[in-house]
Amino acid sequence: MKKMNKMTRNNLITYLIVIVIYVIAQILVMTGSISSLLKGLLVPLCAYVILAVSLNLTVGILGELSLGHAGFMCVGAFTSAFFSKCMVDVIPTTGVRYLLALVIGAVCAGICGILIGIPVLRLKGDYLAIVTLAFGEIIKNIVNALFIGKDASGFHFSTKDSISLGLEEGGKVIVNGPQGITGTPKDSTFTIGVVLILITLFIVQNLIHSRSGRAIMAIRDNRIAAESIGINITKYKLMAFAISATLAGVAGVIYAHNLATLTAQPKNFGYNMSIMILVFVVLGGIGNIRGSIIAAIVLTLLPELLRGLNDYRMLIYAVVLIIMMLFNWSPKAIEWREKYAAKLKSGRKKNAKEAV
């Protein structure tokens, strides 16, 4: 059918864009024309892209504002890093171990998504925003207060400090409270990151263009009408939120396996990160998956290219965010834009007539 082709074509274009960018980046890396700073950004970039797409699933497709996606990323990061660090000797094959770490990080984040979602998704939009923000902060706090060590007799937990773990000789501290996890195997590569981006796209785009996606978007557009045609609101809200959390967890796994030291700071797993990803989503277009990818790439790489403006980066983000929201959502601005578009159209017609 004609419709299938148009939709599949649109989706394919997005995959192509990602692949093309990957190829370009690889060429730049191999010819050495990329600064080491930018090179170091490539893996985190993949994490941010997946985060942006996952947040857009919640904000743009489900229509709920979540400000705690950094929390899901944190869960994915720490559970997978913990697993990888413990299993470094037990599972020496990097590929297998990384795959398992991905699964563990994703599943843990997904479970958190469901646990948070069940009580919280029935709340009105503003409340959901605050509660997800709270969740992100709670996760960060818990991780910072967590001490886990391993020795011959097994695992030890503490919330006070590493000494109270009571480790025997030869025991190792794995999670060191605010100092996080050190020595996670750096298994993430740019290629793996891009493959995961493509998989994320596959999942999200296929979900959107399916019966479940329609149900989710129906809930977004008009919850009462969706109920009246027999759509189970809770089930589909939870589905979207859980998938979104799972993907954020995957982003966390990528991010964690690229750092020598993994700590939960406000900068990378707190409010700031959640806001940054929200900016990506808003800039790329709420509901526009391809836009999220492009926005994430541009907004991550651009500040590095414009080093001079670095101090003003956050300020510029904030201003741009406000202006974009006003421009896209204010009824007066929309009116103005439509009038302008109509004027352009009639102007073009006039010119065409005169030309003839």
Partner: protein, 294 residues
């Protein structure tokens, strides 16, 4: 004795939260939006006070007054530029995200002007500490000032809303904006007034908060802002007495949490309270159930 000391500190902290929560609850009840930037106006107020005292040497009370005026204007300007154009937007997410943008903007402006270094705040409270129970219990002047301010503000606000025309207009707009407009009430002006009052209170809260906990960074306002929102929800968003009860309860929970459980987990405990409240009674202690019209 330490229990009583904790209790008083909790009530004092809670009073600050209550004053902040009032701003949230009024704006939410009347303009039907969550002003994410509210916490950051507190921070701006505190910086203005600090600047006035250290830079120009004006007496503390004058500095607070200047901060109140500054924040009032700031609040009204923000509402006019960033929120009012989106009041009738197709999605309520729009103004919420914009408010987040404003919050971020304020934080980063402060960051650029004042830097990230913690500034030490000089208390604006001239009241000396009281010693009770033969020297075993000390109540700081700041705690006294905070609690008294909270009571005074609550009383003044309740009287304002009940007795004045502007206050009645606020109640009308919070019930039904359309009807209020049809009855000749200046909705734009009423909402602007709401933001003005809320922002003025934020300035006061900033001065009191930093007098009691004298560290100031551009991020100082964010957490108390969020906690105050928790308090407003706890007490029933849109309810003035709810904001007070919610704020004080939250302050007490936080101080006791810090004292008896863990300092780091205190924040987590506060948020866990929020989640529990929202599950059990989403409308809060004094909240009203608003049905969506089908």
């Amino acid at each position: 004795m330490s229990f009583v000391s904790y209790l008083i500190n909790g009530i004092s902290l809670g009073s600050v939260y209550a004053i902040i929560a009032l701003g949230y609850t009024m704006v939410y009840g009347i303009a039907k939006m969550l002003n994410f930037a509210h916490g950051d106006v507190i921070m701006i107020g505190a910086y203005v006070v600090l600047m006035m005292i250290t830079g120009t040497g004006v007496p503390p009370m004058a500095a607070v007054l200047i901060a109140i005026v500054f924040c009032t204007v700031l609040g009204v300007v923000i509402e006019r530029i960033a929120y009012r154009p989106l009041r009738n937007a197709s999605s309520s997410l729009a103004v919420l995200i914009t408010a987040i943008g404003v919050s971020y903007l304020l934080q980063n402006i402060a960051l650029l002007i004042f830097g990230a270094n913690t500034k030490s705040f000089t208390s604006v409270v001239p009241i000396p500490a009281i010693k009770l129970a033969g020297g075993q219990l000390t109540i700081s002047g700041e705690a006294i000032a905070t609690i008294i301010s909270c009571i005074v503000i609550m009383t003044a606000l309740t009287l304002f809303i009940k007795k004045t025309k502007a206050g009645q207009a606020m109640r009308a707009v919070s019930e039904d904006k359309g009807a209020a407009q049809l009855m000749g009430i200046n909705v734009n002006g009423t909402i602007a007034l709401t933001f003005a009052i809320g922002s003025a209170l934020a300035a006061v809260a900033g001065a009191l908060l930093c007098s009691a906990y004298p560290t100031l960074t551009p991020y100082t306002g964010a957490m108390p802002g969020i906690k105050a929102f928790v308090a407003a929800v706890f007490g029933g968003i849109g309810s003035v007495p709810g904001a007070m009860i919610g704020g004080i309860l939250l302050g007490v929970i936080e101080i006791f949490g810090k004292a008896y459980i863990s300092s780091q987990m205190a924040d987590a405990i506060v948020f866990a309270v929020l989640i529990v409240v929202l599950i059990v009674k989403p409308t809060g202690i004094f909240g009203k159930n608003i049905q969506e019209k089908v």
